[in-house]
Amino acid sequence: MDLHASRWVQIACVLLTLALVAASCTTRANDSQFFGLVKPPAENVLRYISGDEPESLDPQVSSGQPEARIYMAIFAGLVEYGPKTDAPIPELAEHWEVNNDNTEFTFHLRPNLHWSNGDPLTAQDFVYSFRRALSPALASRSAYLAYYIKYAEGYNSGAMFVRDPQSGAFVLARDVELEAQTKAAETQSPSAPVDQKQLAEHPELAKGETTELDTPFHHFMHEPDRLVVSGDEAERAKAAATNPKLKAALAGKELVPVKAEDIGVEAPDEQTVRISLAQPAPFFVGLLAHQLFRPVPRQAIERFGAAWTQPQNMICSGAFKLEQWKPYNVIVVGRNPQYWDASNVNLDKIYFYPTNEATTMMNMYKAGEVDATYNHTVPPAWLDRIRPLKDYMNAPEMATEYYQINITKPPMNDVRVRKAFNMAIDKQALSDFRKVTKPLYAFMPEGIFPGYAKVPGDGFDPAKARKLLAEAGYRDASGNYDPTKFPINQVELSYNPSESNRAVAEFVQAQWKQNLKLTVPLKAIEWKTFLDTRSRLEYKGFSRAGWIGDYADPFTFLALFYTPKGDNGTGWWDPKYVKMLDDANHQLDPQKRYALLAQAESYMLDAQPVIPLLTNATNLMKKPYVKGMYPNPQTLHAWKFVYIERDPAKWDYGVPDMSAE
């Protein structure tokens, strides 16, 4: 029986193989320009794979991109991500003004805005939403994005103001600053602080004045910064121990918690939202498109609590409103007739299908059951076949990969050595090898920020690299580069384990071996431990890093080296660089500001604390008949511009033109 059985198995296997071959042949025979069926949906709808099941439909709770794309349909912000570049475009705010040092933004709402239930949407809704976003009880994971707002961090972290119980006067931040800090602070805020009494008498002294909208709160915002201390007693004591002025200031004072009402957001009238920042941040408008800053319906939240996100309770403000939410299955949004620009919304409905299983979504796409997918959905093994197709969207992304260098330890404390290792990598070859990427020579991802002058950075030059190493002292008697002199045991390349990180590390290792005759040992470290060694600068040599921009502005990348702590991870920190960034952020003219930022980038690259490797590229599918949807740097799509084109002559054959907004 066994013999016969195996014969049957053989026959069955042959049959299956035949079926597979037949299957692959038939698919090849299809229209080879696109992947699978190309048949526009019968109705005027878009069916979109949105990735992971949303954690919540509350835009202030979940921080992820899968959710962001759904929020973009049902909640409108002051501004929206532009469909082509992600740069902010007016949404609920018709226009806005910035004061002369980029610390105060005044937004003017469009007239007659409404929630989907018909209630008016006013400036007060923004004040409520911003305060909610920052409340410690909500514990929003994106709350830190709002820390640019004055006293926002203090409120969110439960910090305290310090008040003299007798006079009622608050202790100011500058009162406890040590000498060095005071100097730095002066360079940061060029406008001299205005005395409160003087302000009360002469309201026009306030910066960025629109005198008719002057309010007591506005004055409060323009008082010198109050001292904010930790709400935790132990932490306060620690800070006081290192700062005698702070210790003196705390003695005999009472602590007043920073309240929601203290954060720098106010509604001077129904149609104006004024935001005061703790520091100059010209890119702040771009940040306001983030879900955290989209207004949420106070009425529904106060009535239903956490259940306000259920379709029957939900009140929306976007181009669409929530119709159905079946977790792990589908989210359906339909036209919102109350939306201010409802007549320009193209689609009747959008179906968001939450799945993160790459093969499954590719199957659905191929079978023509969905019209587009979210980013990074084509599995690596499929790329060779899918990349040439005209519905594959491959465009630069606002994300980079680079190696940090620990410049505090020899031999990497020598800039010539750092430059040599950078020049010894053929980044074009690396990018070809990685497929979904573009080579990165400077620190800014290329082609993302229109108008930002590209910093060239050093190219691939192994001869010069060897020369630099020889100059750095690693040479033989005749002055030629000698790899045996290099202390290779002092250098490692550490990365957190993942298939792609290892592949890149091995590639770079091979390049160095080939071009510098040096074999740098690789070291894989578990993720949490890796983060720890990186931030404490305990690694030797190189450590893998990647960065995804938070907002469409070069500062999101350059700010990595703004402080020596945090995500810097290199030990390189230069007050001159900080000054250059500050100067740029005080600059009102965007062109001049970009030029200053590019100078700062170039200055940083001269010190080479990092080895730039790759700009990531988008990796998604979109049927040719889906128009008005672009693989922009964050692949965030403003849905009201998306439409279904039924005339094949007007379809997108390849990546659509994204040059102008």
């Binding site: 299957a23 514990a139 996100t309 977790p327 589908v330 199957n363 993720w527 995500d567």
Partner: protein
């Protein structure tokens, strides 16, 4: 009998509590947290989160709270899915998995029984070899191979059936996942039925029945099948329990909103209440189905008494 059932149900409670405790400990040992992601959260944000979900309390307080909730069959609120209680997730997902599992098992039972009985009756015939070869194929072909294969043929080549998604019951979307899911069970049932039947067909009481001149159909359906089914029945308990409580692979391949899909994501997300809720539910169902099997045994085999 009643005492036996009561005793078994009482034993279930400590068993579930032990399972929950072990799961709770394992989650604690796993690195990472439900809020840890690619970007490091500022300490203030992290502190707010830990306070909101009571993670700043000592472990025994958290454990006590968990046990108190489990005893009341209230598993709390999901950490990942804000505002969704674990119970509401169970209520929503169990029917999906149950429909899928039951349909798959019914299909497996029907086809498996018929194939198994035929194979046993016509031992060493072509029918026997064919059905056992197919059964072998079903056992050795894992669902993560069979599922995509069926999708490739029926959805992506012939464009007959949808490749994925839940579309309610009944719908064409169910056909491929049910087929994928049932294959291995079909195969097992066919083989178990065949061997069970072969054993029974040679036993004395069948010979007696035949000698008494009963019709062949009566002999098979009333006497042989009853005995030959015993292995299938004992297989049914755990199999059905696993089928009903979600099948991770098939639910993921076909993007179905069932318990299995939630379970795998809950683990990846370190969503402690959801993991514990699903584990507790699954263990209750498994213990319950085993009890049902024991009861069914008593009815099928008169020699068994508790």
């Amino acid at each position: 009998m009643l005492r036996f059932i009561m005793r078994r149900i009482l034993v279930t409670i400590p068993m579930v509590l032990i399972v929950v405790t072990l799961t709770w400990g394992l989650i604690r040992l796993a690195p990472g947290n439900f809020y840890s992601g690619e970007k490091k959260l500022p300490p203030a944000v992290e502190k707010n989160l830990r306070e909101k979900y009571g993670l700043n309390q000592p472990w025994y307080v958290q454990y006590y709270r968990l046990m108190r909730n489990v005893v009341q069959l209230d598993f709390g609120t999901s950490l990942k899915y804000e505002g969704q209680s674990v119970n509401s997730i169970l209520v929503r997902t169990v029917p999906v998995s149950a429909i899928l599992g039951l349909l798959a098992y019914l299909l497996a039972l029907t086809v498996g029984l018929i194939a198994g009985v035929l194979a046993a009756l016509k031992q060493n015939s072509k029918i026997d070899y064919a059905s056992m070869a197919l059964a072998m194929l079903g056992i050795s072909l894992p669902s993560f191979v069979l599922g995509p294969l069926l999708v490739l043929i029926f959805s992506l080549t012939l464009y007959w059936l949808p490749p994925a998604r839940w579309n309610g019951f009944p719908s064409w979307n169910l056909l491929l996942p049910v087929l994928t899911l049932s294959a291995i069970y079909m195969a097992y049932i066919a083989r178990l039925t065949r061997s069970g039947m072969l054993e029974v067909l040679r036993s004395d009481y069948i010979r007696t029945a035949r000698a008494k001149g009963l019709k062949e159909l009566d002999v098979i359906l009333r006497h042989a099948l009853r005995g030959g089914l015993l292995p299938v029945v004992s297989f049914t308990g755990p199999a059905l329990a696993l089928l009903v409580t979600g099948t991770v692979v098939v639910e993921r391949i076909f993007a179905l909103p069932g318990l299995g899909n939630y379970f795998i994501n809950a683990n990846l997300n370190r969503d402690e209440p959801l993991i514990i809720g699903i584990v507790a539910f699954t263990s209750i169902v498994i213990l319950l189905f085993n009890l049902l099997v024991d009861i069914a045994y008593a009815y099928i085999d008169p020699r068994i008494r508790y």
